[in-house]
Symmetry: C2
Subunit: 433 residues, 2 copies
């Protein structure tokens, strides 16, 4: 018992703004949703988030799957149509849930294009300004006529800048999520004259808690901000945020054919253009990362069958990349996940998982803490005697923190996962195809 | 219904000799086991396999974990002591089960060396001729005195060339395996004069069906042959076999701190020295691969909580490496594993998992078959209508075969896994540390 807290038992300090889980659209955006009849359940399945005025700068990040779905391929082509890879301009994001439109061949590509063309026609914009999201069953076709009718109905009813419009959109993104996910934050940026600080907002909605049969796949998110940012800079900021957050999220290790994140910037806040690599870009990037991180944590906590959010934070790695690799290896381990489910402070599995990461590790320097308790200290010979019952009790919480310090350098990183439960297996093995 | 069977619905042709699951030691080896008191269960936990005469050429393959256990580090050093990496000479392999001697720091290293020195003293050989295996709980110390006493007792009782000695050794390797694993085969090689064919035998024993708490880890195997082979050639043949078999085995995605395979060659069959890259090396390599493959399949089928062996065979890849990557991605997918448990012919999950592999895939060329039924044919537009109930019924078997043809090249490969069950989660989450 000492007054000085060993850093390895404390959460990693993160320089990110606070977020709230409220539905607030930044200026310059509208949203809405309806039920067009894709989902057998009859729940909302068609969502739109759009710029209020003309198309705005937009960036996208997509699954790396070789079986990337039709909406992924079409959105990537649209975003890249101005010549910059996955960074361009967009008027609208349209999401269909209940059908992934993946592995559907040329017919599926034609379906997706027909939907994009219909939205574009309804809004009077070029088809290349339409971005598409889709999530649901792999290998089935979208009911294009019903989607077209839903689009007409939704646009006729009017999209809204009010919280209800965004909440409806977040609800319509869902497939197996137990609740819709939102995060929002504000930061101050210099105004257009570089003088007074102007507040800009970043808001995101997301879905995706694993895959559920028959392959209700996919992590999807739409982020919007009223900051004024060129598409290329948006892409840099979004990629950096995703590298630290969504790419560190593992629920079951299965990357979907449809994973997509979009970030659109209206510029409506009246702050100045955010220059690449400026202080304002750093501040805005932190806001984007904060929203992305909170959404990723909501997703991990809501993982299929999960009862516990697992956060693994790593310090002392050679660099941030290796820290992230170790954190990801730990939260991805089936054995670690099962141990958390059993409230078992089984540090051997954490060490074993860390040892499999693509990262330099010296076992004589590694230190490991579970829920604030040091359990392994390589600098003191290895295993540390500890009160197993007390640590098991501390693990009986909605979130369990693993801290590792590798003792080699300044690299830090974190990753998010969830426990592995019998319920996960049941949800994903019940026969229904 | 056509008389010509599409290759994608048939098993991949493999040019390997048949194996038997019988305990037969090749000439020049003896084995035995005893109970020295490492396992709380009181089951056999100390095994020895040794050359009958002087030390023989030996090769080893070890876990790549940064947390590699003391026996791994010591065996690697001993095998490499002649200057060739992981290829040298060995008199004896000693296995302790119930304690992994992993993450035990310098004290654990000293324990392992003391055990190796004791065996060496008892047999009158240099310590560098002793190879060690260990499996069991991570982070606990070996009871060195009890192990020493067990060694003395076992050597005093006498090791045996009879089937019973090898069977006892295989039994003593086990931790959570439901049964001991053995495979043996024979092939004909030219004799020392290059004239008449002499029969040589390859036999292997193995353990490892996942990890079970508290981290009863590890895949271990000992292979022995009476062929006459230099250590460097042995290492090449063993590495090639492991690349195609054990490295394609996934039970729960967790690589152990202790994974080890040894191959020892007595030369006692009287066939000539097997030259590197000769026809005899190819023939012997096939025998080694056949034994390794059968042991890996026994391990997958006996995976913790598993009820079904999953074999994924891939053809038409750009090369064998990419074929293996696709096969491994499919059998490693939690969603595929859960679908097999549910007898769900959910080809979208197979496509999704294949799409995540580090391999070139053109979705318009891929074809997928489940249990002999084509379910996806990219060359015909994608999804193929099929009788889902009949295919689900065909999946209700001890082994399910997935066949993929990528339509790009001549590369082939396979991988082995098992279904994901509630029982796996229960075995690995029950609190006992």
């Amino acid at each position: 018992m000492t007054a000085i807290v060993d850093p390895v038992v404390a959460p990693l300090p993160l320089d990110l703004p606070q977020v709230e889980r409220r539905y607030v659209l930044p200026d310059g955006f509208v949203a809405g949703a309806t039920t067009c009849g894709i989902k057998a359940s009859g729940r909302p399945d068609l969502a739109i988030v759009a710029a209020s005025g003309d198309a705005v700068p937009a960036a996208g990040i997509f699954t790396q799957s070789s079986f990337a779905a039709a909406p992924v391929l079409l959105s990537g082509a649209h975003l890249s149509s101005g010549g910059e890879s996955n960074a361009g301009h967009a008027k609208v994001v349209i999401s269909t849930s209940g059908c992934a439109n993946a592995a559907t061949g040329p017919a599926g590509d034609a379906d997706q294009l027909a939907i994009a063309e219909h939205v574009a026609g309804a809004l009077g914009v070029p088809t290349t300004e339409v971005l598409c999201l889709s999530t649901g069953i792999i290998g089935t076709r979208l009911p294009v006529d019903r989607v077209r009718a839903g689009i007409d109905e939704l646009i006729a009813a009017g999209l809204s800048a009010e919280p209800g419009g965004l909440e409806a959109a977040a609800e319509a993104l869902r497939t197996t999520d137990s609740h819709a996910k939102v995060a929002t934050t504000t930061v101050s940026l210099p105004d257009a004259d570089g003088l007074a600080a102007r507040v800009v907002r970043v808001t995101g909605i997301a879905k995706g808690v694993g895959m559920i049969h028959p392959s209700m796949a996919t992590m999807l998110s739409i982020l919007v901000t009223d900051a004024d940012v060129a598409a290329g800079t948006l892409h840099v900021l979004l990629t950096d945020a995703a590298t630290r957050t969504w790419n560190q999220l593992s629920i079951d290790g299965d990357t979907s054919t449809n994973d997509t994140v979009f970030l659109l910037a209206s510029g409506a806040a009246g702050a100045g253009r955010v220059a690449p690599r400026s202080a304002a870009a750093t501040t805005l990037g932190a806001a984007i990362a904060a929203v992305a991180r909170d959404l990723a944590r909501q997703q991990a906590a809501d993982g299929e069958g999960a009862t516990t959010l697992i956060t693994c934070q790593v310090s002392g790695a050679i660099d941030d990349r290796e820290a992230r690799a170790v954190a990801r290896a730990v939260v991805s381990s089936s054995l670690v996940k099962a141990a958390v489910h059993g409230r078992d402070p089984n540090w051997g599995r954490i060490a074993g998982a860390a040892g499999n990461a693509e990262a330099r590790i010296d076992t004589a320097r590694v230190r490991i803490a579970i829920a604030g308790q040091i359990v392994y200290d390589g600098t003191a010979g290895g295993p540390v005697p500890f009160d197993q019952a007390a640590t098991a009790a501390a693990m009986n919480a909605p979130e369990v923190l693993f801290r590792l310090d590798l003792g080699l350098g300044e690299g830090t990183g974190e990753a998010f996962g969830c426990d592995l439960t019998e319920e996960y297996v049941r949800e994903n093995s019940e026969y229904t195809t």
